[in-house]
Amino acid sequence: MKSLAAALLLLFAALVAKPATGVNDAAITADGFASHLSDYGFFTDLKARTPAARVMPYTLNTPLFSDYAEKHRFIYMPAGRKARYQDDAVLDFPIGTALIKTFGYQQQGRFRPLETRLLLRRASGWVAIPYVWNAEGTDADLKRAGMRIPVRFTDPSGEVRQISYAVPNQNQCKDCHARAGAITPIGPRARQLNDGHQLEALVSTGMLDRVPADAPRLARWDDATAPLDDRARAYLEINCAHCHNPQGAASNSGLYLDWRQSHPGFLKRPVAAGRGSGDREFDVVPGSADASILIFRMESTDPGIAMPELGRATVHKEGVGMLRQWIDGMPRQ
């Protein structure tokens, strides 16, 4: 039986082996996980990270803050398949889709990739897995248990930061990406992709079925010309609402922070915050950022206090500054 298994394993390996060019569809859809990022063929030149055909770069209006890491996002769909437009939920992607996100920092004037996270749409649903780049930047290895990487970088304000960068383990991927227990992408919704061009480009390349003229559009958190209320809600939605929704990891908190909440956390008492309360009474106190637990937790890097719980070893000064302005500007209740 054992040798049969071994033989089958070899056969399996041969079947999902990388084709000469293009993306390896079998590596995306077959059970198990390829050992190297190169096995998928998402990039024709991995070191230069040149995308293969049908691997499209994209951006979000308001992205998750990840310790000031620079993120390069790509989407791949197999030939002949397209995503189905949805107004509110994440676009309905076909089996065989891959969402590819590389995290890294500028070092000596060049982008140094640290990790690439994949979300793969299989017949059984989505799976999420991290790959960690080698020092030469030539390939990335499967790292299901995650790891820590010491990093030194300069943040946008010019401050030099030294952090222990956390590559999430596979369960931590799911912590953020699970809705009612099933893994789902977070970013690629119409309102996040809608910048006036991206959705249209996806339609014209045949990767999206349609885009209505009135597709919703989320504000950019750092767009000083947009209403502060829209920017704040966009920020909370992408940074918090993946857990803080009735089907997410923080469902038991009763604190929901998606963009449609009319009074997100206003005068709501904490439930299981522990020392995360910072001696404050309410999650959000309109008119007082200093009295709001939400701000206290976003300004902390202590793992027992910090929110979000994962992937944040630095405080996002600019983001929290914007939220402070938003809360302080509300009428007191």
Binding site: M1, A5, L8, L11, F12, L15, A26, A30, D31, R144, A145, G146, M147, R148, S164, A166, N169, Q170, N171, Q172, K174, D175, A178, G181, P246, A249, S251, N252, G254, K268, R269, P270, V271, A272, A273, G274, R275, G276, S277, G278, D279, R280, E281, F282, I293, D302, P303, G304, I305, E309, L310, G311, A313
Partner: protein, 400 residues
Amino acid sequence: MFRPKSILAAVAILFLALPAAAKTIHVAAGPNAQERLQGALIEAAPGDIVEIGAGRFDLTDGLSLDVDRVTVRGAGPGKTVLSFKGQLGAGEGLLVTSDDVVLRGFAVEDSRGDGIKSKGADRIVYKDIRVEWTGGPKATNGAYGVYPVESQWVLVDGVTVIGASDAGIYVGQSAHIVVRNSTAQGNVAGIEIENCAFADVYDNLATHNTGGILVFDLPNLPVRGGGHINVYNNRVIDNDTANFAPPGNIVASVRKGTGVLIMANSDVSVTGNTLSGHATSNIMIISYRQPFTDAGYNPYPRRITVSGNTHGKAGFAPQLPGGDQLAGAFGGSIPPILWDGTGGPELELRVSDTVPVLSMNLALGAETETAQPALVKLEGPALARMPGVKLPESMEAAAQ
């Protein structure tokens, strides 16, 4: 004709057909513990055992398990120690998000947030587990020791929690719960059952906490309307630690020297417990006293029966406004059972212990300063005996 797709399918089916015998994954103490232990918890298949060796494991991040039917077993709560003193990330030491998991025979120390949290983890068994903050009671300790939440069927058996800045053993928004043979010491709340239905809490020791055993129902949570809670045969002794919970949390309002505290909730029985050494009160029955906006929430305690308990010293230094004068008026100690006096006979409260009961005669939501204390008899109808929680046999077997 070569058809890779169908061959692939055939191969996949063959793989599925191979016998998948449960295996034991051994993880020994030593360098790189984080990756080896987390790797084992990820690679475990349903039915597997992850066996953690004796020794100290220095961990840098929270661990997590998301595979059903896995047993995580150590060499004993004094021998296998998972230390999170150097933890850099994650909100708890160990997080379990899968069903039918058994945790037994290890310790979690000094996690920065909660000790062990299980969320949506049905039929979980915590057996012979120790969670401890080793620096004594401090506001900087993590909130909860063991923390099952949003789960159906929970067993906490032979667990010890020391030093939690909120609750040692905390079960929240769950149903069908047994907490037994466990020790909660030096926490703010020893054992807390919050927004839960059907719980048996028995044969435990709660000592040197701020409050011993708390049964709460809070508003504005996805699961509320808690009730059918049996608290019996526990030793609730000398809960005398000053409250060190960070303000803002509900337990920060628990008064030092509280034995058993019932807040809101319905159908709670407190029987056959030994209660002693509580400066404020052996047993308190109160309504939820803060303003709330949750229209479906009932802030009153209803159908509470207190009977057959053994009362030692209590009420000798009540942590209440005017507590000293009050104690003086009663000859040095106020009665060992306190009711906030909010509501009337419709609450069906019954105390048949042979000790007096003091009512504070407070209106709903009124400040404690407005109390008009007086003795009261609570003679509501006796609660029908509750059948008790019968756990699935697999859980009882796992706890043998």
